[in-house]
Symmetry: C2
Subunit: 303 residues, 2 copies
């Protein structure tokens, strides 16, 4: 399954003149997930020609303003557009109380129906699931309760080779078992190993979103082998002390996490407003983990 | 006194990819007033290199989201910057309840202290005053209680001509009266008319902000003779029915208001997202009121 990640905001708490606070859209076949929703997200959605009507699921990592202040404007706009669907919001439970007075104040009845799903900050949990995909939240390490999110395609069955069905006269009743790993025993008692019968299913695609967080090794176990890791790198290593104090990460630490979880690729983001350019973050991370890119607003990463 | 108006947002409720919702900054010597604060205002403030620390007074016309959703982000950022001052917010009284849960949620104690001043929607009232300037709110005609704002320099005294003081031997004790219009009677009983003694003070500069509103003639009386009128023109005349239904104005109506109040200049704004370009609004308004410009984001209008 192909994933497409579009960065809408790549900056940390203080916006700069050319970078927005955190927001990104992950598109998988048939689904469009919005992850975090800093101020200006709706403008970035429009600029990137993403359909508001496709957004049914929003994931809010934590309740620092740069990760959710754009939510009320987005819902208000979806409402003005007459979009009618349930809008599932996975977020810290307090979000509802923070936003409800403003939701109540929107003119007329809401056509979009926000449904709040509280996150669990004690352990990883499945928060969304359909036939093809699963979304997990998992606690990270920040100054307030914060979750990362893992979007992972479900493991598909292997494909049985048509010519093998013919060659060994495999009955239909046996195919299901073979697809999930069984060998086949012919009428004459010969065992045909599964590896000969099947083409293995491709490795499931997955995406992990980790911000805001200090370097936190337990995360690696949850997101092991992830296709693409987005990890915050608010600071460069020269400001490691500040990163530690504020429970953020440096670019080097983001790269260490990519190594630890054996990610295929790393995107660093959530840049401090101190840095006008993002080149230094990538340079620093690449010393540890070569396959690194910076989060660039408006860019779509396909994987 | 010179006024400088910078447009930060010129669009109506639905933002477009290149226009923000309503916000503008009016700078007068020693003061920086923020008028309305739609989503993204803090980003526009930064882009336009306006100092956050200079903003002590914010005026919110009404409680449709496109006029106040940027307020919490702005306050949060001022707080992160460690700005310490009272922030006077002139707004409908309900704003406090809408925003207070989020203010309470900001980490640590607020360094910026929001002070809410409720607006009066029944009649014009002075809401701010210092030695040089006065700000009035006045009700306009919209679907919810909405105020316009008039910023007006106070009338200065005339300047007495130095050569007249010498020529007629005018004692210091008389000068104050002469500056505000008195004639002077010489020792020999001759009356010297005020007009001969003084250079008249320049006409006070003033700025009127009128959005969101239907065409509403009573407004003209309040803002008579204004130097610059910003009047909404959400629609063009061909959508007059829609303007009427939604209690907005057309460009033609904005121009009619400029005529009616004898404004020196008109800026039209609060454009519907239907229109990518703003030329048609200006063309339509200029047929009625020649000295018209469109509100262009990032542009500063000096007057």
């Amino acid at each position: 399954m192909s994933f497409e990640l579009t960065i809408l905001g790549s900056n940390s708490a203080l916006p700069t003149s050319n970078r927005y606070p955190t927001a990104q859209v992950l598109e998988v076949p048939g689904r469009c997930f919005l992850i975090d929703c800093g101020e200006g997200t709706q403008i970035q959605i429009r600029r990137n020609k993403i359909s508001f009507a496709k957004i049914h699921h929003i994931f809010i990592s934590h309740l620092h303003g740069d990760h959710f202040y754009g939510l009320i404007g987005l819902i208000s706009t979806m409402n003005l557009m007459g979009i009618k669907h349930d809008l599932h919001i996975y977020a810290p439970s307090e979000l509802k109380d923070l936003i409800q007075p403003q939701l109540n104040h929107i003119r007329g009845e809401l056509t979009v129906k926000p449904i709040f799903h509280p996150l669990n900050f004690k352990k990883p949990q499945t928060i969304f699931e359909d036939k093809k995909l699963e979304v997990l939240s998992f606690p990270v390490k920040h100054s307030i309760p914060t979750c990362g999110f893992l979007f992972k395609e479900k493991q598909k069955s292997a494909n049985i080779k048509k010519e093998m069905i013919k060659a060994y006269n495999i009955p239909i009743a046996k195919i299901k078992d073979i697809k999930v790993g069984a060998d086949f025993i012919t009428e004459s008692g010969q065992t045909i190993p599964n590896i000969k019968l099947c083409t293995p299913a491709p490795k499931p695609t997955s995406y992990a979103f980790c911000t805001d967080t200090a370097f936190h090794p337990p995360t690696a176990e949850v997101i092991k082998g992830v296709s693409l890791l987005y990890h915050e790198s608010t600071f460069l290593e020269k400001l490691k002390d500040l990163a530690e104090k504020t429970l953020h990460s440096t670019a080097k630490q983001a790269a260490e996490m990519a190594n630890l979880c054996e990610a295929h690729k790393l995107i660093v983001g959530h840049f401090s407003a101190r840095h006008k350019k993002t080149d230094d973050f990538v340079t620093e991370a690449k010393e540890i983990f070569e396959n690194t890119e910076a989060a660039i607003e408006g860019k779509t990463y396909s994987f």
